[in-house]
Symmetry: C2
DNA sequence: GCACCTTTGTTGTAGCTGCAATCAATCGGG
DNA sequence: CCCGATTGATTGCAGCTACAACAAAGGTGC
């Protein structure tokens, strides 16, 4: 491989949306997990908890769509939070469906975690600058939602 | 919890940079993996391959920093690619260090994957629009690099 | 009612990820 | 030269992620 080609590859490697998004997600997760640790929750757990609290009672399918997460992953992640008594699952309107809802303990954990989450948000805002922070928040959401479009 | 509070929570859940970045990373990874599948590589594998090809010979530590990936994760991911004869590891200048480099098979796989990667990039660009696509690419890179700053 | 398809959720398998602990090699100060 | 701190890499453990295959329930057309 010629050195010019090598240079091109080096540069273009960081033009990869996927690679950069995965990198950024790893970094941001580490940052938020650090802030959330005292609250006993991880960023991934908080996401699911937040989704359930907002929409409850909510089906596995709905969580899957809301968080752009594979349905089998939802099953496992919810099971994990159930084991810690943060969530509970009951029968849905449909016998196929399950209704996930939050427990008292789960609500308390959520409320306890919120200030830590806010601190993490502030830290990220400070590191990026307010405009870029907002742009990334909305851009990432748009990207997550664009999945169905691009996949079609 | 009052319904007004609930509404607030529903809205602010998607203000979470971490949650949104993780969502987006999942979606984008699925998209790229779909495009890359015919080439026999995943997006995660291509990232490592790209890094090694650009910088080789490169230490585990250097890959870890370049890709904002935990060093132990690098060890495993590289081992995985070695098992498929895409990468090879040798002794580094320092007896502690290891030098990772690409094999002929690895280079061929990389070259074969590039058109598929480009197609994925085009699909993402089309879904987001050119300006937003570019903004996300550079924003994600900045976010990944901002890690050390924010963690300090 | 039955055959067929869709929807919803779970399980098997496999890979990605990070933290803590560990080991080996190196470096720096005495 | 030796001791302690640092650096580079690995391993054990645990959790996140997705795809494929499956099972169960519901819906549709005949």
């Amino acid at each position: 491989m010629h050195s010019s080609t090598l240079e091109t590859n080096r540069r273009r490697g960081f033009d990869c949306l996927c690679g950069n998004m995965r990198m950024a997600a790893r970094s941001v997760t580490t940052l938020y997990d650090g802030y959330l640790a005292p609250a006993g929750l991880t960023a991934a757990e908080l996401s699911v908890l937040w989704c359930v609290i907002s929409v409850q009672p909510v089906s596995m399918q709905r969580i899957s769509e809301t968080l752009a997460m594979e349905k089998s992953t939802v099953t496992r992640n919810v099971a994990h939070l159930c084991a810690r008594n943060l969530l509970k699952v009951g029968a849905g309107t449909d016998a196929r469906m399950k209704h996930v809802s939050v427990t008292r303990i789960g609500q308390e954990a959520f409320v306890r975690a919120l200030p830590h989450w806010k601190a993490a948000q502030r830290a990220a805002t400070k590191a990026l600058g307010e405009p870029r922070f907002k742009a990334m928040v909305t851009g990432a959401l748009r990207l997550a939602r664009a999945r169905k479009v691009a996949a079609a």
